[in-house]
């Protein structure tokens, strides 16, 4: 059968969500952000909540989220996404609110906002992209940068004695009574993306049922920051990032899932 007989509207089985705008992503080639951003749009489209959702795009590689989505988005100052989300949610409890934050935004400058939004069990979805580096500003050390990992602000590798240890924040957040669902996923393979999509769907369903804070951490690559090709970066991530940030659920239906909350020894 000729290709042009296959490529017909009735045979279409997959394409970019209609909630995505036509703007080209500002993400680097092969960046996990693109997959994560698109997967969220697919979940929102499938749940049919595009007219009731407000996304929060803070400062970081995610800063142009409002250019990519065809639903309401509010720009937040660096680190303040969870506070902005709280401000929206408190006057519009029936709307869906999600934040989309990087590791610097959520676990460095925004630690206070993140910790307390979770401690209040703010009924929002927090999507947390953990790629162990500050991408937008060109590859500086982040709270989640691994020991010995090189960045422009630890060019000889992160020295934990002077620069602190890699911060696994989601296990901490999982222990706050306000959080209902805390999971760590990735998007470097189709199987992983499907699991992430399921997790995101669960998170938004939790929000619909007013269960409290749901956090979907997505361990991801940063090709330009790590100085690797996308495929090599994903491989490096699986070997190094997953060791420090093991994938899996940490909290389900409000109950801690202890077995892999902590680093696998």
């Amino acid at each position: 059968m000729d290709v042009k007989d296959i490529i017909k509207p009735e045979n279409l089985v997959y394409k970019k969500s209609r909630l995505m705008s036509d703007n080209v992503f500002n993400f680097c080639p092969g960046c996990g952000h693109g997959v994560a951003v698109r997967t969220i749009a697919e979940v929102i489209e499938e749940m049919g909540i595009e007219n009731d959702v407000i996304g929060i795009s803070p400062v970081g590689c995610s800063v142009f989220l409002y250019d990519f989505y065809k639903f309401d988005v509010v720009e937040a100052a660096h680190g303040r996404a969870c506070a902005v989300a709280t401000g929206i949610k408190r006057v519009q409890p029936d709307k869906f609110v999600f934040t989309y934050q990087g590791d610097g935004d959520l676990a460095a400058i925004g630690t206070g906002e993140t910790m307390h939004a979770c401690n209040r069990g703010e009924n929002i979805v927090i999507v947390f992209i953990n790629n162990g580096i500050y991408g937008m500003t060109g590859g500086q050390m982040a709270p989640t940068t691994l020991e010995g990992m090189k960045t422009t602000t630890c060019p000889r590798g992160r020295d934990v004695k002077t620069m602190g240890y890699p911060l696994a924040i989601t296990p901490l957040l999982a222990q706050l009574p306000g959080t209902y669902y805390v999971t760590r996923q990735s998007v470097q393979t189709p199987a992983a993306v499907r699991k992430t999509k399921k997790a995101l769907r669960q998170a938004f369903e939790n929000q619909k049922n007013k269960k409290g804070t749901s956090i979907v951490e997505i361990v991801s690559n940063c090709n330009s920051g790590w100085g690797m090709s996308p495929t090599a970066a994903n491989k490096w991530m699986e070997e190094n990032m997953f060791a420090k940030y093991p994938l899996g659920d940490m909290k389900v239906d409000g109950q801690l899932v202890i077995n892999n909350v902590y680093e696998k020894k």
Partner: protein
């Protein structure tokens, strides 16, 4: 016996040549074109179209969502 066949279409201008689709497709359908788009990226294309079964893995993994996947059945 009906056989599943598939095909992909690539938004060439928006492909950033990251090759994740090439390495994700376990049928070896996708390769990088020798030509480049207006941004100077070599873009993805079907190099072995007959092997495609329309599994959508490439579409899912593409960070920029430039791949649309088609699938149908055909009598052998």
């Amino acid at each position: 016996m009906a056989k599943v066949v598939g095909a992909i279409s690539v938004d060439i201008e928006r492909c950033k040549g990251c090759e994740l689709c090439v390495n994700t497709c376990n049928q070896g359908v996708i390769g990088m074109s020798s030509k480049v788009n207006s941004k100077g990226y070599h873009y993805a294309m079907m190099v072995k179209p007959e092997a495609c079964v329309g599994c959508t893995n490439c579409g899912i993994i593409c960070p920029d969502g430039v791949i649309s996947v088609y699938r149908t059945k055909v009598e052998e």
